[in-house]
């Protein structure tokens, strides 16, 4: 069957799809960059207040007492809470690892 000229390559549909993809991509990119540029950070105040109040100088990004919590971890030295120089001083050598009584 020979398709009619309008159906031959479905160019009309392709045109619509192209415009839709273009608009969708622009919208998504706009949302991402708009959020990155304009969004405020309401939660930061709480954390800054806590740091100021209690004199914290570290974040709790890694577990406390990592050596004890992750006894089988491959790299015990990776513990930012106890030493700012990563992978240089094992936490046991750094400080403040108090072993609980058995």
């Amino acid at each position: 069957m020979i398709p009619s000229p309008g159906q031959a390559d479905r160019l009309g549909i392709c045109n619509g799809i192209g415009i839709f993809i273009l608009i969708a991509a622009i919208l998504v990119a706009g949302m991402v960059f708009g959020d990155a540029l304009l969004r405020s950070y309401p939660h930061q105040d709480v954390r800054v207040q806590l740091v100021r109040t209690f004199g914290f100088n570290r974040l709790t990004l890694v577990p406390s007492g990592r050596a004890r919590r992750l006894a089988d971890a491959p790299n015990q030295a990776l513990d930012w809470r106890y030493d700012p120089r990563l992978v240089r001083i094992p936490p046991g050598m750094a400080d403040l690892i108090l072993t609980p009584p058995d």
């Binding site: 991402v32 990155a36 974040l59 403040l96």
Partner: protein, 384 residues
């Protein structure tokens, strides 16, 4: 019905892409996943460092710890404060009591709070902490309704939980327990009148480094000094670079990019005869360039945008916790992250350019080369 084509080249390029749907889908997935992977790693590193720097901007200027042959040792509170304040340049000094202890679900960090929380300026209505009471961070207990926890350090102590901090504070005190100072000393085995370390404030940030030799000499025992810049610098120096994460991801990612570029180049080279056909039908070199450009843009831009959106969502979605499980060593109750997106736009643009430009060049170059070749040569090579 007659279909009106508002942009004939656009329609033709989309149609041309759909002539090889499998290739188009694979290319889309490859580009999108490559951008998402690279974007997630670089954005996480950048956001984490930026957020840490902002949070720690009000951290103590200098932290002083007493060290001895056995490592850390408690320091006498009053004497330490007196000595520190005797050093010119120090405008404030106070002690901290903290250390690790075993909590209900693993080790926690206990802090002795020696000031009324009502004056601390915290936005939440936290109760004051009396002896035997505790305020816990969001990651200390899975069972939020439990009202007592047992903390075990040098000694064990059962304390009543009077409040659980909001998850928004997770990055600062996720597995922390705020206690009365006497309780904290008791658990950590620190004698009365002693503290874990000393925190100092100086008038100007740059003074901190200059004061270090004076402070070291002023104390009659060995001390270890950590400045705010040093503590914050750990994060701003780059989480990913230090842990090798970036390099670990970049090497295979660049290899994948190379494969995509080579694939696009070969695919375009294999279809040079089409350019010959177009030219034989009367298309100009400009028409062919425009068609190939549109094909490259419509094949690449949605994939890159999709990858960027995935990366941005993975890192910037409020309360994400996957980095804790995958990268930071948490096995359960990882801290939720609310990361700052300042500077994220540049990272996203860099990644988009890094991935898209080689792909664009690999797609356009063979087409331009073919467009400047005699169409007869192109057709003869394919059909004769």
């Amino acid at each position: 019905m007659k279909i009106r084509l508002s942009y004939p080249f656009l329609a033709w390029s989309i149609r041309d892409i759909f002539r090889q749907p499998l290739v188009a889908i694979l290319l889309f997935l490859s580009l999108a996943s490559l951008v998402a992977l690279l974007g997630t790693v670089l954005l996480l590193s950048q956001s984490l460092a930026g957020t840490a720097e902002r949070i720690l901007k009000d951290a103590p200027s200098i932290v002083i710890r007493k060290v001895g042959a056995g490592g850390w040792a408690p320091l006498p509170a009053r004497e330490s404060i007196r000595i520190a304040k005797s050093v010119p340049g120090v405008i404030g000094a106070r002690t901290r009591i903290w250390g690790t202890a075993s909590g209900p679900e693993g080790p926690v960090t206990v802090y002795g709070v020696d000031q009324p929380l009502k004056t601390a300026g915290l936005p939440e209505n936290l109760p004051s902490i009396s002896a035997g009471q505790a305020i816990v961070g969001p990651g200390v207990m899975a069972n939020a309704e439990a009202d007592r926890i047992i903390l075990t350090g040098i000694k064990s102590l059962a304390v009543k939980v009077t409040a659980v901090l909001d998850s928004r504070s997770s990055m600062v005190i996720h597995d922390g327990v705020l206690l009365h100072p006497d309780d904290a000393r008791n658990i950590l085995g620190i004698a009365s009148g002693y503290a874990t370390d000393l925190i100092l404030e100086v008038f100007h940030e740059s003074e901190a480094e200059a004061l270090l030799p004076d402070l070291t000499q002023a104390f009659p025992w060995p001390v270890r000094l950590i400045t705010r810049r040093e503590a914050a610098g750990m994060y701003s120096a780059g989480l990913a670079r230090r842990s090798g994460l970036t390099y670990m991801m970049l090497v295979p990612a660049l290899l994948a990019l190379a494969f995509i570029v080579v694939g696009a180049f070969r695919n375009q080279s294999a279809r040079r005869y089409e350019v010959g056909l177009y030219k034989a039908l009367g298309w100009t070199t400009t028409d062919i360039f425009r068609l190939q450009l549109l094909k490259a843009l419509f094949g690449g831009i949605p994939a890159v945008v999709c990858g960027l959106a995935v990366a941005y969502g993975l890192v910037r979605w409020p309360g994400v916790s996957w980095p804790g499980y995958l990268l930071l060593g948490w096995q359960k109750h990882a801290p939720v992250l609310h990361l700052d997106a300042t500077g994220a736009s540049w990272v996203l643009i860099e990644i988009a350019v890094l991935v898209f430009l080689p792909y664009l060049a690999a797609t356009l170059w063979p087409a331009i080369e073919a467009a400047t070749t005699d169409p007869q040569d192109l057709l003869e090579k394919e059909f004769i």
